[in-house]
């Protein structure tokens, strides 16, 4: 697991009522018992950690966020695109 994945898993653990040590890239988010407010705090922490903005609306199904791996992929893509944007500017 790379740095992005490790950091994201640490953030998830920080916000879980009962943190687990067996979280991997294929762990389903629904298995982590994350409630909506926790999710908002997790998104905030990820954005703050990586300096990105994650388009996400609590009213919509978060299709991008089925597994831990899907979150990591999405964050990596956002980091790359924000880096590209920064490079252009």
């Amino acid at each position: 697991m790379d740095d992005v994945a490790t950091k994201i898993i640490d953030i998830l653990k920080k916000h879980m009522k009962e943190p687990r040590d067996d979280i991997g890239l294929d762990t389903q988010l629904t298995d982590l018992k994350i409630e909506s407010l926790d999710l908002a705090m997790i998104v905030f922490d990820i954005e703050d950690t990586f300096g990105i903005e994650i388009p996400y609306n609590a009213n919509e199904e978060a299709a991008d966020f089925k597994t831990v791996g899907s979150v990591v992929d999405r964050v990596r893509a956002l980091i790359e695109s924000s880096g590209a944007a920064a490079a252009k500017a």
């Binding site: 905030f44 954005e47 703050d48 300096g51």
Partner: protein, 414 residues
């Protein structure tokens, strides 16, 4: 207005308080006994260029200790400091009442928990993050933390209150209004139990600047009724009561501490900052009338006593108008001299102090009263408390905007 002509009697069965002179009722009362000063140099946030450097801040309150046993409210530790104070004092009051939680008949319980300003510490952090730290987003709980009803909601969630749950907001009369409204709800049969009071925590750089700009804060200390008084001192904290109908308390064999006998409220309807004598006088009169008592019956009056030049003189004149000859025999004190001015929470903390005074037959002092203002010539219990048989007490709250609320407590029904 006053609420008269109704039936059910309302008693107090639990008390809770968080203040700068003690973060539980026994500690606060011990602080009153010692004439403890809760005012100290400001700490815990960037002082910057502030000119007023003192406040009555609470130093020894750890939410992780006081609220760790909370079960139903999962995010209380993420809440604003003002919600912590409300939750801790409600917890203390409910424990003393002996009521089972979550409440067995939840729709018959109210939680009326006011705040003069809501979570302004959260807003301070939010604006610092956005405008100074240039953060991309505010903390996701910012909104839930700062709304003025969040303390009421947190209390309602933790203790399982499903009846009327909301906040009152009337600056320094906030708690007294909450307590009075809760009393009336029980009196009129809307509920049987009410957790009532208010909480405040607004001591931060921005709010200090706002108060500083009003020029009503003292750089030296809070000296109510003293010749040297030169302004109030901001405090923080919470004061809560558990109210019940007499029959509800009797049916479960609860200890009735006192009866909440009278509630009077008025508005000066005149000026945002300059109080008049009519509004406060009428509020005191309505509270007495509601309690079916005469002025001579009151033994102790916990004054609003903010230590501003104008309040203390005006309040003295209003007391003289209502109490006439008895004003000279009345034991009056401003406990703000010890716990500072906790704004919206003041009336709740001071209601608790009135009830403790009745329990102990002892009146708390106005400390720092070395030389009284010649225009404030009543018995303000200077510097040391006094033993006195106390049957009936009155608590005054007079707020910016001319919003007045007065409570009268008496012995529990025989």
């Amino acid at each position: 207005m006053s609420a008269s002509g109704s039936s059910r009697r309302v008693v107090v069965t639990g008390l809770g308080a968080v203040t700068s002179i003690g973060t539980t009722v026994p500690e606060m009362w011990a602080g009153c006994k010692q004439g403890k000063l809760g005012v100290s140099p400001l700490d815990g946030f960037p002082i910057g260029d502030l000119k007023i450097l003192i406040g009555a801040q609470i130093r020894d309150f750890d939410p992780k200790v006081r609220l760790k046993h909370f079960k139903r409210d999962k995010i209380i530790l993420h809440a604003d400091r003002y919600s912590w104070f409300a939750a801790a004092s409600a917890d203390e009051a409910i424990k003393q009442s002996g009521l089972e939680v979550p409440f067995t008949n939840p729709y018959r319980v109210a939680a009326i928990v006011g705040s003069g300003a809501g979570g302004l510490n959260t807003m301070e952090t939010c604006y610092r993050d956005l405008f100074i730290n240039m953060k991309k987003a505010t903390h996701p709980l910012t909104l839930l933390r700062f709304i003025g009803s969040s303390a009421a909601a947190h209390v309602g969630i933790e203790f399982g209150v499903k009846g009327p749950t909301f906040a009152t907001c009337s600056a320094c009369s906030t708690a007294a209004h909450a307590i009075g409204i809760g009393r009336d709800y029980i009196r009129h049969g809307i509920c049987d139990v009410a957790v009532v009071g208010a909480s405040e925590s607004v001591i931060n750089y921005g709010v200090m600047r706002a108060w500083q700009a009003m020029h009503v804060l003292s750089p030296e200390g809070c000296f109510p009724f003293a010749k040297r008084r030169n302004g109030t001192v901001l405090g923080e904290g919470a004061g809560m009561l558990v109210l019940e109908s007499e029959e509800h308390a009797r049916a479960r064999g609860a200890k009735m501490l006192v009866e909440l006998k009278g509630f009077g409220m008025t508005s000066d309807s005149r000026d945002m900052v300059n109080p008049d004598i009519d509004g406060p006088s009428e509020a005191m009169r309505f509270a007495l009338e509601d309690a079916k008592l005469g002025p001579g019956d009151i033994d102790y009056l916990n004054a609003h006593g903010t230590a501003t030049t104008i309040n203390d003189r005006n309040e003295t004149n209003a007391i003289k108008r209502v109490f006439g000859e008895h004003a000279k025999n009345l034991a009056i004190s401003s406990t703000k001299s010890m716990h500072g001015h906790p704004l919206g929470a003041g009336g709740g903390i001071e209601a608790v102090i009135c009830i403790k005074a009745m329990e102990d037959n002892w009146v708390p002092p106005t400390i720092g009263l070395d030389e009284a203002d010649p225009e404030c010539d009543l018995d303000y219990i200077p510097n040391t408390g006094r033993d006195k048989k106390i049957t009936y007490t009155m608590s005054n709250s007079f707020a910016f905007g001319g919003l007045n609320a007065v409570l009268v407590f008496g012995p529990p029904p025989a």
